[in-house]
Each structure stands twice: as structure tokens, then as C-alpha cells.
């Protein structure tokens, strides 16, 4: 039978394999997220930017923020790998299913906006 003993550190309940970040590290991570957000908002003020350029800049920054929050704040980096697999399965399934849907409706084609309504 699985048991827990008094000498198990309070910082590592329920399957956290490694020590979690300290409060100071969490603050640094949040500052990094805030910095990336400032960069994202900064692109709004680039008047000459094309949609393709903005997608190329903003999507990678969005993915990085997503991974930082999921990895550090949601503890996926430290927790049991089964949680990571379950969540990634949901994310990947959504990307594939709705990627197919958008492709089916011609979202990625050049003609998409030529036939509104």
C-alpha cells in the first residue's frame, strides 16, 4: 500500500519529481512573461507590418508564453509525465482537428478573403 511519511518535504506533494521553483524564481518567470507581452503589444504600433510578418513574430511568442505558464506555473516540468501527456494530447488533438477544419474551409488559401459572406 502506498504511504507517505512525515519526512516527505512539504514542497513536494503528490508526485512532484523535483523541487519546485522558489518564490523569487516565480517572480522572475512572471517578469519574463510580462516582457514578452510588452514585445507583443509593441508589434501593434509597427504600422508597416504585414499580417504574415506579424504572424511570424507573434505566434512564436505566444507559444513560448504558453510553454512557460504550462511548464513552470502549472508544474508540468516537474510533475508526473502522465499529466504532460494528457494535456499535450488535448492540445495536439485540438490543433489537428481545427487545423483540418480551417484548411477545409480554405482559411490558409489566398482566396479566403476574396469571397466574403
Amino acid at each position: 500500500m502506498t504511504t507517505i511519511t512525515d519526512d516527505v518535504p512539504a514542497e513536494a506533494p503528490s508526485g512532484h519529481g523535483h523541487g519546485l521553483p522558489s518564490d523569487a524564481q516565480y517572480v522572475k518567470i512572471a517578469l519574463l512573461l510580462a516582457f514578452i507581452t510588452v514585445l507583443e503589444v509593441g508589434t501593434y504600433f509597427i504600422e508597416e507590418a504585414t499580417t504574415t510578418l506579424l504572424v511570424g513574430i507573434l505566434v512564436p511568442m505566444m507559444v513560448v508564453k504558453f510553454m512557460i505558464v504550462a511548464g513552470y506555473f502549472m508544474h508540468l516540468k516537474y510533475d508526473n509525465p502522465i499529466f504532460r501527456r494528457i494535456f499535450l494530447f488535448g492540445v495536439c488533438l485540438a490543433v489537428v482537428v481545427f487545423g483540418i477544419m480551417l484548411t477545409t474551409f480554405g482559411f490558409f488559401s489566398d482566396d479566403f478573403l476574396r469571397f466574403p459572406g
Partner: protein
């Protein structure tokens, strides 16, 4: 002294994985599909309006950026609440839980203000297909944030009644997972809906 894991975490299985946490991750994985459907529908419909104001005419990016920053910082306060309880600091845990709920409420207040402004500028739910897609997506997210606030307030209530000690840090962590997920969804919405023209 040894005590069964079940006594502390209530729902830990023989595999050592917490059932409660597992259930939350399964829910969050399935919620990806809900928001995936709403975001992709918005992408398909946003430029299909034949009347009424458009996104470019309505969006106030500086204002939404502040809301985004508030929600991002609420993720920090949430993780600090979990961290405090793991260190057996109940007082600090209450402070961070209250701060997180307050930041969430500020975000919802911003969303209500935004919706009101858009409505006054002529974008109702049925004005055009962009409005329907936009309000459906952002309101669904807003409902998620509101549910999160209710859960945080419940945790705060439990704490003041003495039912949220360090032995229940996993409960706070599980609610925290939900809160961070709501933040993650907003990270995507902010980029896809507001920043990419």
C-alpha cells in the same frame, strides 16, 4: 509515523497519481477542444461581416493589454498562493488567494467595460457574424474566469473556517491548474483575436 496517502490527499490512486489532479488535467485537455472550436470559428467568421463595425474599428489594444497584464500577474499570485501553503504559511496563502481573486475580478470588470463600449459603438451580439463569434469566444473565456473566481473565494472561505491547511495544498494546486489554464487560453485569444489583424 506513517499515514496512508489517502488520508492526506484523499484521492490518490495505487499508481501514486492523484485522481483529483488527473481529473483536472483530463478536463483541461478536453477544454482545449472547446476553445479550439471557438477560436477557429472566430478565425473563419471575423472578416465575413457585411455590416456593422469591424474589429479594427473597435479594438482598444492598450486597454486590452492592461487586462492581459492583470490576468498574467494573477497567474503569478496563484502560484505564490500554492507555494505559500506548501511552506505551511496559511496567512500568506490567504493573501495571495485574495489577490488572485481580486485580479480576476479586475479582468472581468475590464471585459464588461469592453463589451459595454462595443455595444454602444454599435456591435451587438447579432449585429454581424464577427460580433457573434467575438462575443461567444470572449464571453466563454469570461465565464471560465468567473468560475475560477468563485472557486478561489470558496478556497478563501475554507481557509478562514480552518479547513485549508498545508495538508490540502493539492486542492489549491488543482484549482491553480484551472486558473493557469484560463490564463493560457487568454494568451492565445489576445494574440489571435486582438493582435493579429
Amino acid at each position: 509515523m506513517q499515514a496512508p496517502v489517502a488520508a492526506d490527499h484523499g484521492h490518490t490512486s495505487s499508481t501514486g497519481i492523484s485522481n483529483t489532479k488527473l481529473a483536472m488535467w483530463v478536463y483541461l485537455g478536453s477544454d482545449c477542444l472547446l476553445f479550439g472550436s471557438l477560436i477557429s470559428t472566430y478565425l473563419l467568421l471575423r472578416h465575413r461581416s457585411v455590416g456593422g463595425p469591424t474589429a479594427e474599428e473597435l479594438f482598444d489594444i492598450p486597454f486590452t493589454s492592461v487586462s492581459t497584464f492583470v490576468l498574467l500577474m494573477s497567474s503569478l499570485t496563484m502560484v505564490l498562493a500554492v507555494s505559500a501553503l506548501m511552506r505551511h504559511d496559511v496567512r500568506l496563502n490567504r493573501i495571495w488567494l485574495g489577490t488572485t481573486a481580486m485580479l480576476g475580478a479586475v479582468f472581468i470588470g475590464g471585459q464588461v467595460y469592453e463589451f459595454t463600449t462595443f455595444y454602444r459603438e454599435g456591435l451587438g451580439y447579432t449585429t454581424n457574424i464577427f460580433g457573434s463569434a467575438f462575443y461567444t469566444l470572449t464571453a466563454f473565456h469570461g465565464v471560465h474566469v468567473t468560475v475560477g473566481i468563485v472557486m478561489l473565494m470558496s478556497l478563501l472561505g475554507m481557509s478562514f473556517r480552518g479547513n485549508l491547511g498545508p495538508e490540502r495544498s493539492e486542492t489549491v494546486e488543482t484549482i491553480g491548474l484551472y486558473w493557469h489554464f484560463v490564463d493560457i487560453v487568454w494568451i492565445i485569444i489576445f494574440t489571435v483575436v486582438y493582435l493579429i489583424p
